[in-house]
Symmetry: C4
Subunit: 230 residues, 4 copies
Amino acid sequence: MLEELKKRVYDANLDLVAKGVVLYTWGNVSAIDRESGMMVIKPSGVDYANMTADDMVVVNVATGQKVEGKWKPSSDTPTHLELYRAFKEIGGVTHTHSTNAVAFAQAGMSIPALGTTHADYFYGDIPCTRELSKDEVEEAYEVNTGKVIIETIKQYGYDVLAIPGIVVKNHGPFSWGTDAADSVYKAVVMEEVANMDIRTLQLNPNSSMAQYILDKHYFRKHGPKAYYGQ
Amino acid sequence: MLEELKKRVYDANLDLVAKGVVLYTWGNVSAIDRESGMMVIKPSGVDYANMTADDMVVVNVATGQKVEGKWKPSSDTPTHLELYRAFKEIGGVTHTHSTNAVAFAQAGMSIPALGTTHADYFYGDIPCTRELSKDEVEEAYEVNTGKVIIETIKQYGYDVLAIPGIVVKNHGPFSWGTDAADSVYKAVVMEEVANMDIRTLQLNPNSSMAQYILDKHYFRKHGPKAYYGQ
Amino acid sequence: MLEELKKRVYDANLDLVAKGVVLYTWGNVSAIDRESGMMVIKPSGVDYANMTADDMVVVNVATGQKVEGKWKPSSDTPTHLELYRAFKEIGGVTHTHSTNAVAFAQAGMSIPALGTTHADYFYGDIPCTRELSKDEVEEAYEVNTGKVIIETIKQYGYDVLAIPGIVVKNHGPFSWGTDAADSVYKAVVMEEVANMDIRTLQLNPNSSMAQYILDKHYFRKHGPKAYYGQ
Amino acid sequence: MLEELKKRVYDANLDLVAKGVVLYTWGNVSAIDRESGMMVIKPSGVDYANMTADDMVVVNVATGQKVEGKWKPSSDTPTHLELYRAFKEIGGVTHTHSTNAVAFAQAGMSIPALGTTHADYFYGDIPCTRELSKDEVEEAYEVNTGKVIIETIKQYGYDVLAIPGIVVKNHGPFSWGTDAADSVYKAVVMEEVANMDIRTLQLNPNSSMAQYILDKHYFRKHGPKAYYGQ
């Protein structure tokens, strides 16, 4: 079932490798078919080199049960499911341990909106979640990772697609988009923006960007008045 | 029309990718044919991988109108046009979001002339523009980006080819040269000099270079007494 | 003798090159055959490009004598031997001069456990050894390098496989695992974690991770309750 | 004449590119034939991609005159000549603008001996020259660049091959060795050691290495008691 979606999720997972944002198996991409309520996700612990589209796993989003696939779904499956349940607008989710975004996660810092590269994709700082409590970690770690992402995004009060990524404290980045490929795109942009920002803050710890530049760049690419495509 | 120039602009755009200074479509190169008053520029939002020389767009520099091409010209077209109108000496313009040059742009800092690598190509600090005002951003953003570059370069009082690049505050680098390839060359040098300078300033925040070393290196490569070619 | 093990040690040495953690011949991998008490190790000063599995050297672990091979064993052989003698659980050892792990070694600092990437492989900070004394260096440098690693690991009181790596002060990283490939895996992870941590500490010198997150991540991949495989 | 030496100098120049320490034409390698008193060096301003061994230029070391070759010799020729005249032990010289070594040159700082990677090749800090005076720069810049290198090395009082490299203030690294390939080897090591040291000093500005570790590592690879080959 969902053979075409499996192919797209498989391609998106390989794109993570091609873009240099994963080492070993440190990343996973999923997508949802809203009509059937099914999620397709990378299998757990399978090498990218040997993986085929046929190895993708199908999970029922409502029940969390595996519906098809010869492997176990990614261990991060409960986090992906929480995101699809909370945000109806999103069609794909990506998780990586990319170096610079992880640095912000480990530092417990948001990735600040300091330039137009950022503003072209993210309408504001890319937030860092609060630390999970001991109970949250011990009782349902992966589910609660999803919940703390949702809690943080809701604090911003925006359309979830306007802040299509986050860093989870002490862990790393999650991103999302309209489909699997779009969520990978946002993961790669987030890593590059984090790289730019580490260097910027080293040069000038007080760097900032005016709100009207953020508005201009975001809205010339997004929404009814968009006209941009470099 | 201008088939040979289209080929050169196309090659220069691909060279950006080969030199590792663009991610996705985050860059664009143009060139001008002074005789006909036409500019050739990368199309908007077309992937480098699928692009051909035939996709380049021809724009009338005086009117800003598209003259030939199946795509829209790059969204940064008004910025390129301003530069060609203000500086008759330049034949090519490049814009990128290369990591280290963007870091200086986001920090609101000039890229200081700290060594002979810099002095071989840029006769002084590579300036950072002032921040655009709210009105400038909202009314004619891309045109005003060109205008603030021109304003900044004119403050230096030099031949524009002696300072063949700049960083626009909170945005990123623009560079120029005698033709498309030369403007890419300057973009790549600027990125590497920015990389060197971030590391230099980390080691010693008070780094500087004597004016006579800047003079020597610049003028052994440029002007009537040039003799250099490593 | 041990032709299969030679092939695995050879492959593991080449994997160091493929993963980008060695320059020139700055690394070596060994493995032990516990049944026969023999260690297979990279030869001394042979280029990776010209090396074959047949160039691997066999050394008697108890006596330290070469048993087979046309070359001298790696100069670090006495260090490897000390580790195999002290820790019966380990089957492979790797030494590199990878950039970021060396930075921690040169700074005399442990690589702190700041995130879940670290916690997935190392159950706590990756320690830095004390400085060797003048006598230790002059009398039996490579043997004493092994001894100070053992001394440091024993201070932690853990299963040696729970802290499968260390940085030797002013020198660089050593890592170990169940076999040659596993010790290379740990060397690559250590380098990437060191890279993440340098950037993290630059952003926030007071970064830290709660003990319960370390526990959760380590034990969901290791021990009787493991369930993880990204 | 000297066809074999031309081939070796050509190969050494290409190795600079393969090792990633030059951008564009920012580097040059030479070698000397002590018997005939002739130096073979890269031509000036010729791209690496189109260069052949036949393009190398032969210069008389005593007179500084070109003896054979269709191109002008590298503009840095006078610097190379000074080094061959002052140090009879050296057979090859390399100059690059590699990123991290340049950072130390621009910062006006020696590359400190902080670890065994350094100690394996350089018996002490890699010095940074003093700044050239205005007169030295204006009168005979390339000759005086050679002279200030010699002045600095002589201050150390060592065999020149024990400190086979230097950074020239505000300029970049020069290195030397027994032949062309050896001088490139030292250039690549210097760049990597500079990279390690920038990261080390960021982690701990007070990093240092005991003299007896420097002695041990240098002399296990060099001199009558050498036994090392990783």
